[in-house]
């Protein structure tokens, strides 16, 4: 089935004085209507460029972007502006008009956006009065009604993002692009914004594309994920599948670290411990947690196992246990242990060596 967003062979090269920078190379994506689709990668991987190609804020150098089966590159400037009104976007730094109050910020796309009558919009005109009424409804949805008259400088980061979300929803978009929308927020606020996005996806059926460098965000709300590394798409699929069986170096790194390269603290020391050892990562699903698997394995082989890390993570609303074990040096024993764990229905993969 063709998705609401279909990307084929998308490449973007930035021409600078010194050299041509290939930000994206041959990206193929298919995003289904109603998905919450995560695009994750380290900083500089090209994910922000990718999301800007989805609404043609950046024109791709090669390849096509189709929204609901219509190729954006074939559109006139005017058609493109009307289309953009259906593809809302929120940002890391909120990007609200600082000189306008909350309600005027939300009215802005209704009065002057691709849907507004003053721009010769395609989806009906809106008077100031109508726009205001709609803006008030939207403030209700994001829980900011009492701040209608406040200016953005008087709001906290989380409140600003709520206003930005209300503004993005104003024109009844079909798609919402989120460019690192929670990266400037603290963990608690991040949670509340993610819940709001989830609610929007559920209640209005808006397809959401989330750009992030935080695995936690993807785990929390995304149904599908694409991993971008150095301008290429390295892995994509359902979040549950990738979390249980990451195939590529980038996927493993993001999952084991829980986030991308920026914070190098505790995880780093764990990584150092793992160097030169045979380490495996196992994931417990619901039914595998009845048997004391590790304890039984130690008893069976009579060899100690070093548990480097153990954690429970919430993946798409289901609790999953995750453990990183360091196995004894004996290669034969290692194989037997892995076979033993796989026999017990656990997802097992080696995590050794990809950190170098």
């Amino acid at each position: 089935m063709a998705g609401i967003i279909e990307v084929h062979g998308l490449s973007k090269t930035f021409v600078t004085k010194d050299a041509d920078v290939e930000a994206l190379q041959g990206i193929d994506l298919s995003i289904q209507a109603g998905d919450i689709y995560g695009i994750i990668g380290m900083s500089g991987a090209g994910k922000s460029t990718l999301v800007r190609c989805l609404n043609f804020l950046e024109r791709p150098t090669a390849g096509t972007v189709e929204i609901e089966g219509r190729d954006l590159s074939g559109m006139s400037e005017k058609e493109l502006r009307a289309k953009r009104a259906e593809i809302a976007m929120i940002f890391q730094h909120f990007n609200l008009l600082m000189q306008k109050n909350v309600i005027d910020n939300i009215c802005f796309p209704l009065l002057y956006g691709g849907v507004g009558k003053k721009d010769g919009g395609t989806r009906g005109a809106m008077t100031k009065k109508e726009a205001r009424k709609r803006a008030e409804e939207l403030l209700e949805i994001v829980g900011m009604s009492e701040k209608a008259k406040a200016y953005p400088s008087q709001l906290s980061g989380g409140q600003k993002q709520r206003v930005a979300i209300a503004r993005a929803l104003a024109a009844n978009p079909k798609i919402l692009l989120c460019d690192e929308a929670t990266s400037a927020l603290d963990p608690q606020t991040t949670q509340s914004i993610l819940q709001l996005l989830k609610q929007i996806n559920r209640e209005y059926g808006i397809t959401i594309v989330i750009i992030t460098h935080e695995m936690a965000v993807v785990r929390e709300i995304c149904s599908h994920v694409a991993i971008i590394g150095e301008g290429r798409l390295v892995e994509q699929g359902r979040v549950t599948d990738i979390f249980e069986h990451p195939r590529t170096k980038e996927a493993k790194e993001l999952i084991v670290r829980g986030q991308s390269g920026e914070s190098r603290t505790l995880e780093d020391r764990q990584m150092d411990l793992m160097k030169g050892k045979c380490c495996i990562r196992i994931v417990f699903s619901v039914n595998s947690s009845f048997e004391p698997v590790i304890a039984n394995m130690v008893l069976r082989f009579g060899q100690p196992i070093n548990i480097l890390r153990a954690d429970t993570k919430n993946v798409e609303g289901i609790a999953r246990g995750e453990m990183i074990l360091s196995l004894p040096d004996d290669v034969k024993l290692q194989e037997e242990m892995k076979a033993y764990l796989i026999d017990r229905g656990l997802a097992v993969e080696e995590v050794d060596g990809y950190v170098v």
Binding site: R81, L97, Q99, K100, F108, P109, G113, Y151, S153
Partner: protein, 225 residues
Amino acid sequence: MWFKEWFASGTAQMMWEGTLDTLFMTLLSTVFGYLLGLPMGIALAVTDRDGIRPNAAVYKVLDVIANIVRSIPFLILLILLMPLTRLLVGKSYGTAATVVPLTVAAAPFIGRMIESSLKEVDHGVVEAAQSMGVSTMNIIVRVLLVEARTSILVGVTIALGTILGYSAMAGIVGGGGLGDIAMRYGYYRYESDIMLAAVILLVVLVQIFQTIGMKMSAKLDRRKR
């Protein structure tokens, strides 16, 4: 007392007229300066490489014009523009005539200030507007000019002060106003008390412009609590 003498001799009357002349020249030139400089500044900001409608040719032409006009000393410009002034005003001296070279000198200076004010606007806000499908014209009018308004008002204050200073220079060629009075009495006739009074009035005018401008810009700024 000296001020009684001034009133008797008509000096006070002259000072008052000089003040009005200076105000007339300054305000009119500022208005005309913005009529030319505002579109020029907008064009400079919009057509620059990282503007919303990059256009290297347009930017380069405006850039060169702005640099040339701004590098000509005002006094020389005053003389160079005499034929144009005569064409527009009918004579090349006097208060009204000074408005022409003042406007020409002020326009590129104002254009540069508008350009820099608009470039201060956070690119993210412009990007957000683009993502909503807002047209280039509406981005200029509804986003750039609105978001930059306090900075633009500070610019107006600076422009008024600078143009006022230029208008005083026009006194040398019989331009009228306080500068003219200071020149004629202070420099040519050694009546330094009149010169001093004219200078004080100029200082007071600049002070008033500055205070009003800053108050207005602070009042319009919604970025602070």
